[in-house]
């Protein structure tokens, strides 16, 4: 794109234009590098975080989530705008680079674009710039006029972010206009001089600008050309150096935040990477108490937040008025980093995070449902940070009284209710269970190939014991050779770990691991998604574990299960995805497939289902915590079910059951809504006798019982 009076050849300014532009390049890049170096300082002081493994998988994720913008369409309108802008930026990269260099070396052409590809590229990028410009206008209108709720900043978190957002949108728009005006004035100048005119894409911004300026005097055109060029260069470098001061830093950091993102679901980071469990006693301090105790990836996450608010929009704690907003967990930490590791000035010490940046309730309010992580387009992680902050509070003895009792009971009795260990297996002695065959206790006198891991709530809670009974009856009817650990089972420790009590968790895990190994089983089944997740991800060296819905789905597909018809035609069922079965472990279809096999069962989907399922309120220790909230998560969920036209909620988790049952009462919807566990629905409708021969075989082979 050689101009008549190329910008590089202006000689009547104070300095030759070529030198000016070159200087701006050098200064701009140097500033940017300096700023980035300052931004990296806290990361050099952070905890280690091994994220350099499995490069191919990580590259694949970059292609999917970064290049492919995989999560963006979850919010259709904003997602579309972003995809267009992102694609536009990628396409425009070479053009921008060329424009910048042309001010110093006027004949510069990008390698590969010198032949026929050049004009094609120019036309494509004309449209790209136009679309980006239009997106900026639409986005600004959206922010200023329609003001989507998720961008709002509650007073306690400070001032609105909209002015800054609109400022940035404006700058990008200016960049597009400057680029388009440069191209337009080049073409207009060439046209007036009778030189070959570059083709501008029809109806694109440069094309329309050329029509506007086409008949202006050449001198004006030249002024516009150089002016546009200067504005372009200055705006480009201003944006480059401004981005690391706010949410737009994600433009640079997103590639890295996606590449280095966590590869597994449902797991937690260890207390300290590189320190084995046996050596944890030597660690001076557990958890994150000061900012520097975050890992470098966590700090990178803080920089990478685009303030889109999708996390908070899906966070159930936020929805019910708890003092937690994931968005502000990140933004406040980012602001802390900006304040204590400034670009201009020296790094300075801060105070402990809890009590100064975060409140205790803010950190305890999280149910670890994972909705935030599922939503974030930048793959920012939250659960590990919350757990690390909790580890720090536990280490300091700073635990709400409501949680101290169940923690103490877990330590002394292996369950949060303080009930006696010897009674843990008593639920299995009921006559209804005996009907389908006695439940064996794997105490050394019996063995089986399958362990039914019951966990605490199903063992001890009067209402939840029915899930245990239903599961045992189902396993019996399926002909499974199974048993329970009974009194030698302790709480899986899933929430103990997620509430930050790592050592108590390890004690429970080690005890259970030994008991499981001693039982000699080859597989584990559970009806409790929290136990399922713990056994699958937190425990090592235990046999593979499945949730009862997975077992049932397999048997249903194999034709081993038949169901009776649903009796009550009026019942409409809605399946609620438990967080730890659905989102964290991606078991969405198996429970649905099982339900859909029951003849005559009417099922509807709630608005928020599958990976957008709305947490019931949380399980394990969360049942004991007394949050400050405006209403219960369960109540919100029950209303969603009613809205979907259901009168029965089916869930596959005892904690969901507890929360939803309570919520039905609190919402005053008794009689209009009820809740059942998947196992109860199956138990109710299962045709018995299909696997009878198998069971009889087993009973004759069993020793004791």
């Amino acid at each position: 794109m050689v101009g008549i009076y190329p910008p590089s050849q202006v000689t009547d300014w104070l300095v030759p234009s070529r030198s000016l532009f070159l200087t701006i390049h050098v200064l701009g890049v140097a500033c940017f590098l300096y700023i980035v170096a300052k931004r990296l300082v806290p990361l050099t002081r952070a905890e280690r975080d091994p994220r350099f493994d499995r490069p191919l998988i990580r590259l694949g994720r970059v292609l999917k989530f970064w290049l492919g913008q995989w999560k963006h369409p979850r919010y259709k309108f904003a997602g579309t705008i972003h995809i267009l802008v992102f694609a536009g930026f990628i396409l425009l990269a070479a053009r921008a680079f060329t424009v910048l260099i042309v001010g110093v070396s006027e004949n510069f052409v990008m390698p590969g674009l010198s032949g026929r590809a050049g004009p094609i590229y120019d036309i494509v990028t004309d449209y790209a710039a136009t679309i980006v410009f239009l997106c900026m206008v639409v986005a600004a209108i959206r922010r200023l006029v329609f003001k989507p709720a998720r961008y709002a900043v509650p007073a306690k978190y400070g001032k609105s972010h909209t002015p800054d957002a609109v400022f940035l949108l404006g700058l990008i728009a200016i960049l597009m206009v400057a680029d388009s005006l440069f191209a337009a004035s080049n073409a207009a100048g060439h046209a007036q001089r009778g030189q070959p005119v570059e083709t501008l894409a029809t109806l694109s911004l440069p094309w329309m600008l050329k029509i506007v300026i086409g008949s202006m005097p050449l001198a004006t055109l030249w002024g516009l050309n150089v002016g546009a060029y200067l504005v372009h260069e200055v705006t480009f470098y201003f944006l480059l150096c401004y981005r690391p001061f706010g949410i737009q830093f994600h433009v640079e950091t997103s590639l890295f935040s996606v590449y280095f993102s966590k590869l597994e679901r449902g797991t937690l980071k260890p207390v300290r990477w590189g320190v084995r469990d046996e050596h944890l006693d030597q660690v001076k301090s557990f958890g994150v108490k000061t900012f520097e105790e975050f890992t470098w990836k966590h700090m990178l996450d803080f920089y990478s937040c685009a303030d889109c608010g999708r996390c908070a929009d899906n966070c159930p704690a936020n929805a019910v008025g708890r003092p937690l907003s994931p968005r502000f967990i990140t933004i406040k930490a980012r602001d802390y980093a900006f304040q204590h590791y400034p670009v201009f000035g020296k790094a300075n010490n801060g105070k402990p995070l809890v009590g100064n940046v975060y409140s205790e309730d803010e950190i305890w309010s999280c149910t670890t449902c994972g909705a935030c992580e599922e939503e974030c387009p930048l793959l920012v992680e939250y659960i590990d940070k919350i757990v690390d902050l909790r580890r720090g509070m536990i280490d300091d003895g700073n635990v709400p009284q409501s949680l101290q009792k169940p923690l103490k009971a877990l330590e002394s009795r292996g369950n949060p209710y303080g009930k006696m260990e010897k009674k843990r297996g008593d639920w299995a002695k009921s006559p209804e269970v005996q009907q389908s065959g006695k439940v064996k206790v794997l105490d050394g006198n019996n063995d089986a190939d399958t362990l039914y891991f019951v966990d605490s709530i199903t063992s001890y809670d009067d209402r939840m014991q029915s899930i245990g009974r239903a599961t045992a009856r189902i396993l019996g009817s399926l002909g499974k050779n199974f048993g329970i650990l009974g009194a030698s089972e302790k709480d899986s420790g899933h929430e103990v770990r997620r509430f930050g009590e790592e050592m108590l968790f390890m004690a429970l895990r080690n005890h259970n691991t030994e008991a499981i190994k001693a039982s000699g089983v080859q597989r584990i089944v559970t009806a409790d998604p929290h136990a399922y997740n713990a056994l699958k991800h937190d425990y090592k060296d235990v046999p593979p574990v499945e949730h009862i819905s997975e077992v049932l789905a397999r048997e249903v597909r194999a034709g081993n299960v038949r169901f009776n018809r649903v009796e009550d035609e009026a019942r409409v069922y809605a399946y609620h995805d438990p967080c730890y079965l659905g989102r964290h472990n991606q078991v969405y279809d198996d429970p649905r497939d099982v339900l859909d096999t029951i003849p005559g069962l009417k099922r509807v989907e709630m608005k928020r289902s599958r990976d957008r399922s709305f947490c019931c309120g949380g399980g394990g220790l969360m049942l004991f915590y007394e949050p400050k909230e405006e209403q219960r998560m369960g109540v919100v969920r029950v209303r969603m079910a009613a809205e979907a036209g259901a009168n029965v909620i089916v869930t596959a988790c005892p904690f969901c059951m507890v929360n939803i049952e309570d919520a039905i009462k609190v919402a005053g919807m008794e009689g209009k809504m009820s809740v059942m566990d998947l196992t109860e629905v199956v138990d109710q409708h299962m045709v018995r006798g299909v696997c009878d021969e198998k069971r009889e075989e087993l009973e004759t082979a069993t020793v004791g019982g």
Binding site: Q401, S402, D462, F624, E626, R632, D662, K665, V666, G668, E670
Partner: protein, 328 residues
Amino acid sequence: MARIFAYIVHRSGIVDDSAAELAAAARKIDASAYPTAIVTGWGADLDAACSSLTPCFREIWKIANDALAYSNAEFVRQALVNVLPRNSIVLVSHDHFGIDLSPGLSIKLDSAFVSDVLAIDGVEGDSLELVRQEFGGQVSTHVRCDMSSGAVVNVRPGAFKPEQSAPAAGVVVDKSSAVRALVARRRYLETIVAEAGDVDITKHSVLVSIGRGIQEKDNVSLAEELAEALGAAVSCSRPVVDAKWMEKSRQVGSSGKTVKPKVYLACGISGAFQHLAGIKGNPFLIAINKNPKAPIFQVADVGIVDDVLEFLPELTNKVREMRGVAAK
């Protein structure tokens, strides 16, 4: 038999039931004995207290001292040590004052001390046979106390029924001069009265009272709904206040309010005596508790073994049905 004394606490000259209860307790130790009341204080209040005791006690020892105008246990202890004969048996009500006074008193008198006694079975030689409870009232114990060098016995309020015997026509004896100078190493400053809450539970004739069995703050609403349907008020036991689920003004018990309702529904309350001590007037007590062994069933008129979280809504519905309000 050693002489039996009963230390009577008065508040601004007013003596409560505990005086007659102590007299009855003394009779259990020695059926033929008439215990001597001891009262400390100052001025008109003290005189009023003494006269009100004349029906229960034959002899009332009055100790007047301006330092005793407010019953400071540290002072009272010194006064009693000056005045009591050796090897006496002293009965005191096991309340905030008795807890403060008696253990130290027993040491200064060089006597034995038994706390929170529920029943007196009798005397065997030099031994007093008593009944106490342990573990929050879950088990009882027989206790033997060697009273050869005297004994201080704290008696549980409400455990002994006042006797309806012939009036005693007591005589007031002034023992003030026997008291030497009282040393002040603990000084009373003031009493901060508990904040009046929104509801005065002492004024309600029906109370729906909740305990630990309510399990969490959100479930308090179940009791409130029942109370609303009944036209009653919600009160509670101490653990509910400690957990901050209800205000202190709703607490029934020895460190809370004393109530005299007609009907008392004890929902998820175990029945620890400190709570029961706040219930007077022998109301019709209905207890609902998951634990069939809860001590509350020993004092209830009607008992139901059930989970209050399930029972309360059921009861609320029945009340609403009866009243013709559509069950929610």
